[in-house]
Symmetry: C2
Subunit: 110 residues, 2 copies
DNA sequence: CAGTCATATCGACGAGCGTCAATATATGCG
DNA sequence: CGCATATATTGACGCTCGTCGATATGACTG
């Protein structure tokens, strides 16, 4: 919570809540959400009645090539937002709500 | 809320919650948060005791050049996350909590 | 084992973005 | 007016990223 006193144009104020490395981490997390294709993938999976979705079912709705969808799913899984489970020939993805909650809580400044 | 039926490898599922344009909008909003410098600026302003901060006081803590800070503040203001108010020679920025809440609510999938 | 289907990886291209130095604009002061 | 200060704009550079086609890996089937 390191807090510093800095001289400004009017009067000294207390500042600094998140440091540089915390900001880097958070920014990287939000960067994962900063792509429409990834948001649609998250939405598709989150709203699937079974709570999971196979990668093969996500290519068409998203309207991107299979390699692109695979790429985005990897990014989402690496970020911890999706859990990956291989079942035979198929790969199923599930939302990780706790991880989503971390980002939601980071926006608790208002 | 347009819902479509799509044939998958196992059985038909109901999918599609956010459409392409909604995803574009949301992604653009998250893209604004996907930068460490902008996050630190938001944090500095949000945690300022007066609730506002003058641009001149944000350059040093952030450790970037004045044009860079000005650039990021413009992006945050254009995104509606910051309110801009000119007072004499200085420009003061305030957090717009309602706008932050919009993004927080978008993460209500968990 | 050969073939098929699902997924992942590779390589390349183009667009977008963060950053800075230099400069412009604008506001206040003497 | 002329100078100092605060902020915005411009132009350029380098890097990252989303996308695709081609191809590789891997898993089941007959």
């Amino acid at each position: 919570m390191d807090v510093k006193v800095i001289q400004n144009c009017c009067e000294p104020v207390l500042v600094e809540t998140i440091n540089a490395s915390e900001a880097d981490e958070l920014a990287a997390a939000f960067k994962v959400l900063a792509d429409p294709t990834r948001l649609r993938l998250l939405s598709l999976i989150a709203n699937s009645p079974s709570g999971e979705a196979c990668a093969c079912d996500l290519v068409d709705p998203v309207g991107k090539s299979q390699p692109t969808v695979s790429h985005h799913l990897s990014i989402l899984a690496d970020a911890g937002l999706l859990a990956r489970e291989q079942r035979g020939k198929w790969v199923f993805f599930t939302l990780v709500p706790e991880r989503v909650a971390v980002l939601r809580d980071a926006l608790a400044m208002g």
